[in-house]
Symmetry: C2
Subunit: 116 residues, 2 copies
């Protein structure tokens, strides 16, 4: 990630926005591992690069609505292919079947501990 001037928080936020469309910063904190205190800086960094847009929510003036821009979508796709390659290297010793098993087992562990 550092090789393309990205950090984990950047990817996590872009991916969350891709799933959810747009959301307030607090909502994005809840959906990710990014603390609300760190969300400010993360959104700042991505907004400076034009990857997300931050706008006040007209229906609730406490909130900022964060939205993925077209450039943000493109950047996310780039990071996705990059990370797919990294994952491929990581899982090199496993067959396709075994990779599927591993992902399945890990997914069940994560789901079991997910917030309700």
């Amino acid at each position: 990630l550092a090789g393309v001037q990205a950090r984990r928080h950047h990817y996590v936020l872009l991916a969350a926005l891709d799933e959810v469309g747009s959301a307030s910063q607090a909502e994005l904190s809840r959906r990710t591992t990014i603390d609300r205190s760190d969300m400010v800086a993360t959104v700042n960094e991505l907004a400076e690069r034009g990857l997300v847009q931050r706008a006040p929510d007209p229906t609730d003036r406490r909130r900022n609505v964060v939205t993925l821009t077209d450039a943000g979508h493109r950047h996310l796709r780039k990071l996705d292919t990059l990370l797919a390659k990294v994952q491929d290297d990581l899982l090199a010793p496993l067959s396709p079947d075994e990779r599927e098993q591993l992902v399945h087992l890990l997914t069940r562990v994560v789901d079991h501990h997910a917030r309700p």
Copy 2:
């Protein structure tokens, strides 16, 4: 770990010493994820609590030989049971067979990327 005044580095070093007997700080760095720059403080912290002993190597005066004390062995056993409980909670959704599968797959991934 924080609940028993321990950090990951403490456990990692105690466990490495339990495997290898005693070793120089540089050797312990190579065998763990603890950087040589951080090894000094880690050994300091464990030595202050009497869990390891640091002594100059008579056969190579550059080296410090680090050894697990009896108290260190006891502390390690305590951490082992603590972490076994944590792992049990983590893997709660998986059957014994599935846990074994998961450990096996992860072990193969780790082994494949281990330093030669």
